[in-house]
Structure formats: C-alpha cells, structure tokens
C-alpha cells in the first residue's frame, strides 16, 4: 500500500493537523508520502520531511497552487493519485474543499471525518453529529478520505524524509484568489489547543466575550463559541465549536453560558475534562460535564480569573 497525505498549510507554514493525518496513515500502514502544494512552501516541505513515518515529501511549488484553491489542487491530485492506494487529508476547510473533487474525478467515493482505522479498507466515521458511529468498508481501488485530527495523536518530528519537486503544473482559468482575512490572535489554534474556553448565548453580547480573555490568557487556552453565539452575531464563525464548526478534543474544555445543544456537544464531547458554567441547572451541558458550576457567569468569570 502507498498513501499520499495532503499537507495542510497555515500562512505558508506546515499546519499542526498534518502530523495527525500522518498518524492515521501509519495506522493504515504502507509507504507514506506527503504532498506540500502552494507557493513558496519550501519551509513547510522541510517541516513535513521531519514527520515520523514519512518516506518522501513531494513539493508542488507554483503560483497556481497559491492559497490551495480547489480547482488546481483537485487537478494536481488527480495527476498524482495514480501512484497511491489511499489519499488522505485533514478534515480542515482545505481538505473538505479539495478532496471530494479528486474522488469525483477518479469516480470513487470519499469517506469524510474518519476517526478510526480497522483495516486498510474499513474505517469508522461519525454520522448524525457524532450521535452514531458508522463502520464503513470501501471497495474502491483508490480510497479518498478526510481525517478528523482529534482522533489521532500527532506523530513526532524526528524523521528525515527525502524531498522532491513535483513538476506537474495545471491550468486554472476558472477561479482566482481575491482576499483573505484571518483572525489575528496570539492564542493557540482552536483545533489543536490543550485548553479551550467557549462562550454561548448566555454571554449576552460580543463585548462580554472579553470576560473569557483573562481566563484564556492564564490557561494558555483558545477561545471558542457555540453556534447560538455565532448565530446571534456575538463572534465570528471561525470560533464555532460543533457539528457545523470545529471539532475539538482538548485536555480541558470550559463551556460558559452554553446550554449544550446536540450540535455543540458533537464538537466537544471527546474533550478529556469538561467544565460547565451555567445559571440554568437543568441545562443539558451538565449531563456531559465532569464538573458543573451553577451560577451567574458574570460573577463567576471574574472570580475564576483572579483565583487561577
């Protein structure tokens, strides 16, 4: 078996997600290559070459792959996929954007959000917002799948794979990059943070989310939000934790003013320790929380910040 892993990039650098996807590839077994595609991505390729278990890094460094737009990325993967039995990417917005194009062009199905590997053709994946786990077997010659990174522990960076250039350059006359606005933050990235503090509709408004800042600073935490808080316009969608947002599984998850709708639980119930702070003692979030504190968050948060 031979597996191609599409590397995730964040502002041109290798994103942490890739080390988790390589771990999923190791669970399948076989030779593992990593494709780093973008513009000016040599540093990312060098970082990918250090990931344990990787035999070769293939680098497609060309302006047409800048920002990893779906159309050229899909076309590039189609060119390379013939060498492989599996193509994997993380279930990031890039992986989700690009991989189904490859699958369709190769006339195979795609498995989304894989959380477990039973064998080289049988995998586990959540359906219905994680309220059921499906075991699926693929008889397609090429297995195309996105991987939920929180389900696989990242591989170490002690390896030294070879790095080689991919000369394939595709055309793209259909789509072009206009602009990107990334949230600037010194905090850890939501998907990979060890501690996540999330606010819900109970926060009342966007301004009150500042109450979470001090706690997040002290814990080195990322800040998330429930869909209700996003829908209410308190915070941007990239902070959303849930079925339709980010899936997180930190060591500690603190849910503040979040009732615990099914779709939110789908995004955080694999966290190691869950703390819920809510004034409604009947809130469903308490059914999954290890530690629940019933009370007014506007009194609790300042006290918690000062005592941490």
């Amino acid at each position: 078996m031979s597996i191609l892993v599409l590397a995730d990039l964040h502002e041109g650098q290798l994103a942490g997600a890739t080390a988790h996807v390589v771990a999923a590839a190791k669970a399948i077994g076989g030779d593992i290559d990593v494709l780093v595609a973008g513009e000016g991505v040599q540093a990312a390729a060098d970082a990918a070459a250090k990931l344990d278990g990787v035999s070769k890094v293939r680098v497609a460094d060309n302006a047409v792959y800048a920002h990893q737009l779906a159309e050229p990325m899909g076309a590039l993967l189609v060119e390379l996929a013939g060498d492989y039995s599996h193509v994997l990417a993380s279930a990031s917005t890039t992986g989700k954007n690009v991989l189904p194009r490859l699958a369709a062009l190769k006339d195979v199905s795609q498995l989304s959000d894989v959380i477990g590997v039973e064998s080289a053709d049988t995998f586990l994946r959540p359906i219905y917002a994680g309220n059921a786990i499906a075991t699926v077997k693929s008889d397609d010659a090429l297995k195309v799948m996105t991987v939920r990174t929180t389900a696989f522990d990242a591989v170490e960076s002690t390896g030294s794979a070879s790095v080689e250039a991919v000369e394939v350059v595709v055309e793209n006359g259909q789509s072009s990059f206009v602009k990107q606005e990334l949230a600037q933050s010194d905090r850890p990235e939501l998907g990979g943070a060890k501690v996540v503090v999330s606010g819900g509709r109970g926060m009342g408004n966007g301004e009150n989310f500042k109450l979470l800042d001090g706690i997040a600073d002290k814990l080195g935490a990322a800040i998330g939000a429930s869909r209700a808080a996003v829908d209410a316009g308190f915070v941007p969608n990239d902070m959303q934790v849930g079925q339709t947002g980010k899936i997180v599984a930190p060591e500690l998850y603190i849910a503040v003013g979040i009732s615990g709708a099914i779709q939110h639980l789908a995004g955080m119930k694999d966290s190691k320790v869950i703390v819920a702070i809510n004034k409604d003692e009947e809130a469903p979030i308490f059914q999954v929380a290890d530690y629940g504190l019933v009370g007014d968050l506007f009194e609790i948060l300042p006290e918690l910040e000062s005592k941490l």
């Binding site: 189904p100 786990i133 079925q243 339709t244 005592k307």
Partner: protein, 249 residues
Amino acid sequence: MKVLVAVKRVIDYNVKIRVKADNSDVDLTNVKMAMNPFCEIAVEEAVRLKEKGVATEVVAVTVGPKAAQEQLRTALALGADRAIHIETDERVESLAVAKLLAKVVDEEQPGLVILGKQAIDTDNNQTGQMLAALTNLPQGTFASEVAVDGDKVNVTREIDGGLQTVALSLPAIVTTDLRLNEPRYAKLPDIMKAKKKPLDAKTPADYGVEVASKVSLLKVESPAERKGGVKVASVDELIDKLKNEAKVL
C-alpha cells in the same frame, strides 16, 4: 440567469436519533423529517437572487424517496418556480447524487448552482465539490457571501481561521454556510400556491446513472456515552477539583 438549488430530506435537526437494535443503521421510523438546514439557506439565497433581479428562474431538485416531495413543496413555497424529483429508495451516496445533479446541470444549463455545504445526517460535506468536479465548474464552498457581478461571482468563504474571498467564472457551484442568510418561513398562501407549481418526477434510470456505491455500511453504533460528573458549589471547589482530581491545571 437560471439558479438550480439542491435540497435534501433529512431527520429534523431537533430530533435525538436512535440506533437500530441490530446496529444496521439509524432508526428513521416515525421520525420527524425536514429540509436539511443548509439546504434551507441555499433555497433562501436563490430566492433572494431572484428578488434582486439577478436570477430569472429558481429550480429546486432533490434525490430521494417519494416523501422527499414534501421538501420540494417547501422549496416551492419559499419561492422556487419549479421542481425536479429524482425518486429512489436506495441509499444514495454523495458521488451518485453529484452524478445525477451533473445530468440535471447539463439539461438545465443554470448560471449558478447552490447547495448546502453538508447534510446533517451523513455529515459528508462532499456533494457540491463533487458536482463542481464532474461538471468542470469552479466552486465556492462554505459561502457566507455571494455577489454576482456580470459573468463572474465573488464568494466569501468561511475557512479555518477566518474568511477567504474567491472570484469564480460563471456558471459556478456554491455551497452554503450558516451565516450566508437567515431563511424565511413559508407563508400559508405560498404553501397553497406551491401545490400548483410544476414538479417533474424522474428516476436515476432516466439519467442513466447507477446509484450503487462501492462503500458498504457494515454497522452503526451509538458512541460511548459520556457520564455526567458532579456539581461543585464554588469557584474554589472547581479549581481544587481541576488541580487535584482531574489534574489538568
């Protein structure tokens, strides 16, 4: 410009699902069904484009059992002009749906196709991207803003860490994210009118598409239940538990 919008019949998002006792699938017997929430956003966007004079006709399409006509009638009540129902009782995977939609695109020649980014049953998030690949059209996935400008469309996308705007040549495929719009509710007179709007009944065979998939569903299980823990009385007790019991601080 014609806009094609795809909708899916799924379990209502408020319903807690049950896994069948024989672990063959999720039990959908006597469960409330509805239009997938992201598809509602897709229909709303298409109807708004028509209200703005950008779209001239909105065509809704679904692939699914006879009962999925309900969701097409909903789309018609919300403002779609006509509907196409590709009827099948099979379990249809994203790839087969995309192949069927590609045939519809070929027949209808829409300027824009709008779909939900994912259905809340299988959570695949694939069909729009696959449709774009099969029709060789550009895609703007996870859209939070769609601005048609002459022969192109600017799509602002919800990506990890922020927003990205891409310009796509038309025709193009767009998939919706949550913040694109807030769908309206159908009004009673519109629901009555929708019953008279044209609805074409088709089958996958009419399009020469084989819906069988090479992916088989071996079993479906409930996830490990997470047990609720304890309530603490104060911030001090919480910090103590996190330090000394959970050892995460």
